[in-house]
């Protein structure tokens, strides 16, 4: 008689991990402890900067400076908490909604916005900050994270790959394949699902019948946690714990962060067609930035002057970004042919000459 192992330890706890309640009060629990004061202060500052970056990017779409922008406003605790929990040697595999996370990792915001500005498909060097290009096709980046992490393990490197996914992406086949490969290979991967309630317009109830997205973990033999995704302290602590576990060689970890997309899918979307103002307002009361600010203020770790200073820093950063984004970029048509193969093929060189002739310029030179 075969005995099927019971593995309740792989299931998420009945309640999401929460360290701070919506009013910013510390919640006692047996989960991970509250991060240190320095970490909390950094989380707050980075969330303020991140939110201002995000609202600035949305504003840039209205000025025609960005082709499109998928906002992460409301998801700051996820964007910042997950990234700050990574070590320098770890890798981040972000999606198109994770621009804020990418800037938090240290990538120049103008380089981050290169994609959405329409200048090139990605504007930064992935190896500089260990951030893969922001991925537009859903869930495909999860497999890249697994492969990179497996290669790191083969090479004996102490590197963890964290991949960001949305709730919609969990319906894609590549999420399944990536969870399965990572589990079989025991690869050091953290699957970080930001469940923001909607895949464009489709609510979670039409996406899955699973009790939670974290419940998917047990089917692969992966331990899973649900965390309050608007609690930056909890996100940081849970991701940090997962990174430590993955680095120790125990295999992948799945985290579902419960959050909410305050804006429409992108500036081109109309969210009033599929969700109510009341629902959005309900989430305003759970705002991640306010929550951490109130916590820090309550503990005397943040005063009005410090709050004002951080706000001023965010304004200055937004102004600098605005200024840099209003400069027109010079585009070189020869770039079209440069990076298709290691060396352009004879056919590409011909096509490059064709275009140059059409434009009345010499290829590789000025017109």
């Amino acid at each position: 008689m075969v005995t099927i192992p019971m593995t309740p330890e792989l299931l998420p706890a009945a309640n999401p991990v929460t360290l701070l309640d919506p009013a910013g009060r510390a919640v006692p629990g047996d989960g991970p402890g509250l991060p240190g004061d320095d970490v909390l202060a950094t989380l707050y500052r980075m969330m303020v900067l991140g939110r201002r970056f995000d609202t600035q990017a949305t504003a840039l779409t209205k000025q025609g400076r960005l082709a499109v922008y998928p906002s992460a406003r409301g998801q700051e605790a996820c964007q910042i908490g997950a990234v700050l929990a990574l070590r320098p040697q770890d890798w981040l595999f972000p999606t198109y909604r994770d621009s804020m996370a990418v800037t938090a990792r240290g990538v120049d915001p103008v380089q981050v916005l290169t994609l959405l500005r329409g200048d090139w498909h990605s504007g930064y060097d992935p190896y500089q900050h260990r951030v893969a290009p922001q991925c537009t096709p859903l869930a495909t980046n999860a497999l890249h994270a697994v492969g990179l992490a497996r290669a790191a393990a083969i090479k004996g490197e102490d590197t963890v790959a964290l991949v960001m996914l949305g709730d919609g992406a969990t319906s894609e086949g590549d999420t399944h394949a990536a969870l399965n490969f990572a589990a079989v290979w025991k690869s050091p991967v953290v699957f970080f699902i930001q469940n923001n309630g909607y895949a464009i317009s489709v609510p979670l109830a039409k996406q899955t019948a699973a009790p939670s997205l974290a419940h998917k973990g047990i089917g692969y033999g992966i331990p899973a946690t649900v965390v309050d995704g608007n609690d930056a302290a909890a996100v940081y602590a849970v991701v940090r714990r997962a990174v430590t576990a993955a680095a120790a060689g125990t295999g992948p970890v799945l985290i579902e962060a419960l959050t909410y997309r305050m804006e429409a899918h992108t500036n081109a979307d109309d969210a009033t067609r599929y969700r109510s103002a009341g629902e959005v307002a309900g989430w305003l009361a759970r705002d991640p930035v306010t929550r951490l600010r109130e916590h820090l203020r309550g503990r005397g770790l943040l005063d009005e002057a410090a709050i004002a200073a951080t706000d001023a820093e965010a304004e200055a950063q937004a102004a600098a970004l605005r200024q840099r984004m209003t400069t027109d970029t010079r585009h070189d048509p020869d770039d079209l042919f440069r990076y298709v193969y290691a060396e352009p093929t004879p056919e590409l060189r011909r096509q490059q000459r064709e275009l140059a002739a059409e434009l009345g310029r010499s290829p590789g030179g000025e017109g």
Binding site: P133, T140, L143, R150, G173, A177, V340, A342, T345, E347
Partner: protein
């Protein structure tokens, strides 16, 4: 070590080699020479692959470098991309042509584009080996000629060997290439044999060059992969009818070697493209278009295509009607307006 691996150690001069053996040797040599090379896929480890191309490799190189994966083609290619981003050179196997389709998104949206997306910062030296084509009595989903899906995707190299020795050469070059390579293996030629030249072993012809496999003067037969042997046979038969056919083995389907092919067609004035894949929007359409663009004034007749019909690949008992045959190629040669040209010559004379 089992039969296949033993059979062809080193493609030694004067030895007889099968295409399967040559591929096995190519993988083995690449694994020996470069620690960053990995071989993985479905059943490629312990079993040695369903066609035994990876026979003995897991035993020789260990399960860290040659291993079985879970059954997901998208998973295989997607993780290969991540590994290549971290400095490894994966050589992965798709078990059959049609079973590679689940990996299509990873291949077209990422494998082919990451270099471009990152302005050359991310290089993906990955080889995807795909046994393709029919002629083996395979049931549905085991006989597709899927080359055009890949050749239509910028950023990929697509190569296919037509002879055993060239399978070794192309595979070694594909593995060394800094570009991702779709490596199409004509499975019906896996067991065809070739005696390696006595003089100096094999020539490492460049990965992107077509080769004239048989010189001729009247017509150029352009073929690749599984159809190459058929074209060569047809050229022999045509000789008996007084037609001298030159046979070109394309080897590299993308990029396309215009120089070699147009030089031949300009000499012969007639051309036929031969492939198993369906005709409509098939690879031959591109070849015919290029020849009419580049050789129009040299052509004595329209460029013809001998290709599979525009049907889903047929069941085993019907595939003989579908595959390009020697007779079908000879018929096409007959249709190349020889009389009309002769008449023109008479008038001119």
């Amino acid at each position: 070590m089992t039969a296949i691996a033993e059979q062809n150690r080193g493609l030694m001069a004067g030895s007889a080699v099968t295409m399967a053996g040559a591929l096995n040797q190519g993988l083995s040599d690449a694994l020996s020479e470069d620690d960053s090379v990995l071989v993985f896929g479905e059943d490629v480890g312990t079993l040695g692959g369903v066609f035994r191309i990876t026979d003995g490799l897991a035993a020789s190189f260990g399960e860290t470098r040659v291993f079985d994966t879970p059954l997901s083609e998208s998973g295989i290619v997607g993780t290969a991309i991540g590994m290549a981003m971290n400095g490894l050179r994966p050589v992965v196997e798709m078990q059959f042509d049609a079973f590679a389709y689940p990996a299509f998104e990873q291949i077209t949206s990422h494998l082919a584009k990451l270099r471009n997306r990152t302005r050359g910062r991310v290089e993906l030296p990955i080889v995807i080996r795909i046994p393709y084509g029919g002629g083996i009595g395979g049931v549905e989903h085991h006989c597709d000629s899927s080359e055009a899906y890949y050749t239509h995707t910028p950023g990929l190299r697509v190569v296919t060997p037509g002879t055993p020795a060239d399978a070794y050469v192309l595979l070694r070059q594909a593995i060394s290439s800094p570009d991702p390579v779709i490596f199409l293996e004509p499975k019906r030629r896996y067991w065809s044999k070739e005696t390696v030249s006595e003089h100096g072993g094999i020539a490492m012809d460049p990965i992107d060059r077509a080769l004239v496999r048989r010189p001729g003067t009247d017509v150029t037969l352009i073929a690749y992969g599984g159809a190459l042997a058929t074209a060569l046979e047809a050229a022999e038969a045509a000789e008996e009818y007084g037609r001298s056919a030159e046979v070109i083995d394309l080897r590299s389907l993308s990029p396309f070697d215009d120089e070699t092919v147009t030089a031949s067609v300009k000499r012969t004035g007639r051309a036929i493209v031969v492939h198993e894949a369906s005709r409509f929007c098939g690879y031959g359409a591109e070849v015919a278009a290029r020849l009419s663009e580049q050789c129009f004034h040299y052509l004595e007749a329209p460029v013809l295509r001998v290709a599979g019909f525009d049907i889903p690949y047929p069941p085993p008992h019907l595939e003989e009607y579908h595959l390009p045959s020697v007779d079908r190629i000879l018929d096409a040669i007959d249709r190349l307006q020889w009389q009309e040209t002769a008449a023109l010559v008479e008038v001119a004379g």
